[in-house]
């Protein structure tokens, strides 16, 4: 499978009469962009706002972040099963508006949304202070159930992201990244030779229900058995977040599209290792569900002949059991494992950071203590509603200080301890 990621770099976003990309500036026609949501009865209000890197802007409460992408050639469409049909994606070429993100803003569960700052210390914790953000700010209509509202806002964000890429199809491409590997296990072995270690990537996706969900090709992941993907499919938006769990460690759709484990393994395929594929697995609510998925994951890895597995967690606490089971079952199958996760070590950093452990989990990449407190300076402008911080996980009623600054756990910052390992954060003994 060969996928060309055709990146058009965007350094600024502005309102314009026509949505287009020229000279690195994305012009957004607000009227036609908002027309996408005409007749959407689940929203009482919909608005768009723009936030640029370096501005004194705080966006809160944020639900999801999506990178504008659409297919230029090849089968299907980005975000398969949601935009266009359910055809298998990952081949041909894809337009990526690099440097732009669609940010969906609006209260759903209120405690499970987070914040993005466009300047100041919070920008160290996620990529979204460096992107030009097109914010979709939404209020739910009266009487709409949370699950319905989540669905509406999820789809609205995806549609807006696809729309922005779709209307910019004619834009010049600044850089093309080719992600290519043979389709079959045999083909990959021929590319890599017998000496390179065979890697699989086990991507755990939250699938607990109660608004803790992930969609794969439009299918609710809690209804699947673990399944196998080519890495390129992930990059074309096969996985979409429907997730209202703590802001710091829920995988945004942006994270899936830019999955750093997939990209790193693809870049090293044929050089240092043989990347066999991605096993998407669940994080279920029930013990039976956890056992079923973990056993099945290990079986798939064995069928592929994997020797090393990189396992990524989503969320913390309950899914600690999934990383433990996967590490144990894979190690017992003779497959060496590395887990990427985070820690819940308390505000003073002195607590044990995991809710479940096994000795097999002896190679752990830590993406930070979610409870560490940061002070974020006041911002001149807020997109959304700053009062939301009182109810966001990691914040409380005392988070807003008299001078307008915010003291909160980094848990409140979207993607701050992302467990795909997209940022450089780590945790150390002091």
């Amino acid at each position: 499978m060969k996928l060309e990621l055709c990146k058009a770099f965007v350094r600024d976003v502005q309102w314009g009469k026509r949505t287009c990309l020229a000279g690195g500036v994305l012009q957004v026609d607000k009227v036609s962009a908002l027309a996408l949501f005409e007749g959407e009865k689940r929203f009482s209000s919909v608005d768009l706002d723009l936030a640029r890197p370096g501005e004194s802007v705080r966006i809160i409460p944020v639900k999801d972040v999506i990178e504008p992408r659409c297919k230029l050639s090849g089968k299907g469409e980005c975000f398969p099963g949601i935009i266009g049909g359910p055809e298998t994606v990952g081949s041909g070429s894809t337009l990526v508006l690099k440097g732009v993100a669609v940010v969906t803003v609006g209260p759903i569960v209120s405690i499970q949304e987070g914040l993005i700052d466009m300047s100041g210390p919070a920008t160290e914790y996620n990529p979204y202070g460096q992107t030009c953000n097109v914010c979709l700010v939404v209020q739910p209509a009266k009487g709409v159930e949370k699950a319905e509202y989540e669905t509406a806002l999820r789809l609205a964000g995806i549609r807006l992201a696809w729309y922005l890429a779709d209307v910019c199809r004619g834009a010049g491409v600044d850089e093309t990244e080719v992600v290519e590997a043979a389709d079959s296990v045999e083909g990959k072995a021929a590319e890599c030779g017998a000496d390179l270690p065979r890697f699989v990537y086990v991507c755990q996706a939250i699938s607990q229900g109660l608004l803790h969900d992930t969609f794969l090709y439009g299918v609710d992941v809690k209804q699947i058995l673990p399944t196998l993907l080519q890495p390129q499919e992930i990059l074309d938006g096969a996985m979409v977040s429907a997730n209202c769990v703590s802001a710091c460690d829920k995988q945004n759709t942006f994270h899936h599209q830019n999955n750093p484990v997939v990209l790193e393994l693809c870049r090293r395929h044929g050089k240092d290792l043989n990347f066999l594929g991605v096993i998407v697995t669940t994080e279920m609510m029930t013990l039976a569900g956890k056992i079923r998925s973990s056993e099945y994951t290990a079986k798939l890895a064995r069928m592929l002949g994997a020797q090393v597995a990189i396992i990524t967690e989503e969320g913390c606490g309950n899914p600690d059991t999934d990383i433990c089971m996967n590490a144990k079952n894979l190690e017992e199958a003779g497959i060496r494992t590395v887990v990427i996760g985070n820690e819940v070590a308390g505000q003073d950093g002195s607590s044990q950071g995991l809710a479940d452990v096994v000795p097999e989990m002896d190679a752990y990449v830590s993406c930070g203590n979610i409870n560490e407190v940061v002070v974020l300076p006041p911002m001149e402008r807020v997109i959304g509603d700053i009062r939301a911080i009182a109810n966001v996980s990691g914040g409380d009623e005392k988070s807003i200080r008299p001078d307008g600054s915010i003291a909160c756990e980094i848990q409140s910052i979207i993607g701050s301890t992302n467990e795909l390992g997209i940022s450089k954060i780590g945790c150390e003994w002091v």
């Binding site: 606490g317 820690e343 308390g346 002195s350 044990q352 995991l354 452990v357 795909l420 997209i422």
Partner: protein
């Protein structure tokens, strides 16, 4: 300006004698004593040794309170910026004295304090969470390595620049996890670690697996019909309005509420504040998480003796194990006091 350093040492290293001098009370000395010369050399021009506090090991450990007060007074009189105690190597009493004085000096005088321990020194076990220390060999043969390491750590702390990780700055960690930014992102670190692990090369996990305490379960209830049963939950159910302001996640507290007059939880009297799930159905009927209504039914039917009058409640999402353990201990003590025979814990 040169920083003012005061050293602390025991009778032996100060040249006052061995066990026979171990009861000597704290005293201040000027001029360089014992390893003082080596310290002065290690500190170089950046700091000056302005004095030494000496105290017998037995004296300090047999009268901790009194010795500490006297040592602090002597320290104060020399207005130091920094206390360097030891190195204590694997000497138990000395290690404890160094740890105790370092902790007091940084807490009460607000100055930098540094010691040196062999990692198994009992002083580390007692004070290791509060005190900066370098690892040393187990005996005074390691003085040559310990002195420059302690001086380096002291100067590092005196510089006021944010302290780095223990493994990089070569000190014994204090059991605290802190966030830092690496050179590589997490995904690249993981792939690198996977390659090393596969090849059988040494690799460094970023979190050693902790060992969980195993709590033996209580003996089974002998006769349910006479038993008092308590309800507890980490499901975030609280009296309407959350009177004790329990956090929606990362809970720091738990609440104890009298339900003796309540047969049923309703949206009018109780609610869910939990930050980890969609609360729609818990808000509609809080009994779904904290089944008070069913417990009352069973109580009336005589299945068990009595439902304990109080429910013990908190939120379990992103709550640290240390806090959860404390809540459990506090709740358990009250249950024991009040003769609760068994408890039902509901989670979400």
């Amino acid at each position: 300006m040169r920083k003012r350093v005061v050293l602390y040492m025991n009778q032996f290293f100060a040249g006052m004698g061995g066990e026979e001098a171990a009861h000597m009370p704290p005293e201040a000395r000027t001029g360089l004593v014992g390893p003082g010369t080596a310290f002065a050399e290690a500190f170089g021009p950046e700091a000056e040794i302005v004095g030494t506090v000496v105290c017998g090991d037995n004296r300090y450990t047999e009268d901790m309170e009194g010795s500490r007060v006297l040592c602090l007074e002597l320290l104060r009189s020399m207005s130091p910026d920094c206390l360097v105690a030891g190195p204590a190597f694997n000497a138990g009493r000395y290690g404890v004295a160094c740890g105790d004085l370092c902790r007091a000096a940084s807490r009460d005088l607000g100055i930098v304090a540094v010691t040196g321990w062999y990692p198994e020194n009992p002083g580390k076990e007692l004070y290791g969470n509060d005190v900066y220390a370098v690892p040393t060999p187990d005996s005074a043969r390691g003085m040559k390595e310990a002195v420059p390491a302690m001086a380096r750590l002291a100067l590092r702390l005196l510089s006021g620049v944010r302290m780095g990780p223990a493994r990089e700055e070569s000190y014994l960690h204090r059991g605290i996890r802190k966030n830092f930014f690496h050179e590589l992102d997490g995904a690249s670190r993981a792939v690198e670690m996977g390659l090393k692990k596969f090849r059988g090369e040494p690799f460094r996990t970023e979190l050693e697996m902790p060992v969980f305490k195993k709590i033996p379960p209580a003996a089974p209830v002998k006769d349910l019909r006479t038993a008092t049963i308590a309800l507890c939950s980490s499901g975030g159910i609280v009296p309407k309005g959350n009177p004790d302001r329990i956090r929606v996640s990362s809970a720091m507290s738990w609440g104890r509420y009298d339900v003796s007059g309540i047969d049923d939880l309703t949206p009018e009297n109780y609610e869910s504040i939990h930050g980890g799930y969609d609360r729609t159905w818990a808000l509609e009927d809080p009994d779904r998480v904290l089944p008070l209504d069913e417990m009352r039914k069973l109580e009336r039917e005589g299945v068990f003796g009595k439902l304990y009058d109080f429910v013990s409640l908190t939120t379990g999402t992103a709550t640290s194990v240390a806090n959860a353990e404390r809540f459990g201990r506090e709740i358990g003590e009250i249950f024991k006091r009040d003769g609760v025979d068994a408890a039902i814990l509901t989670s979400t």
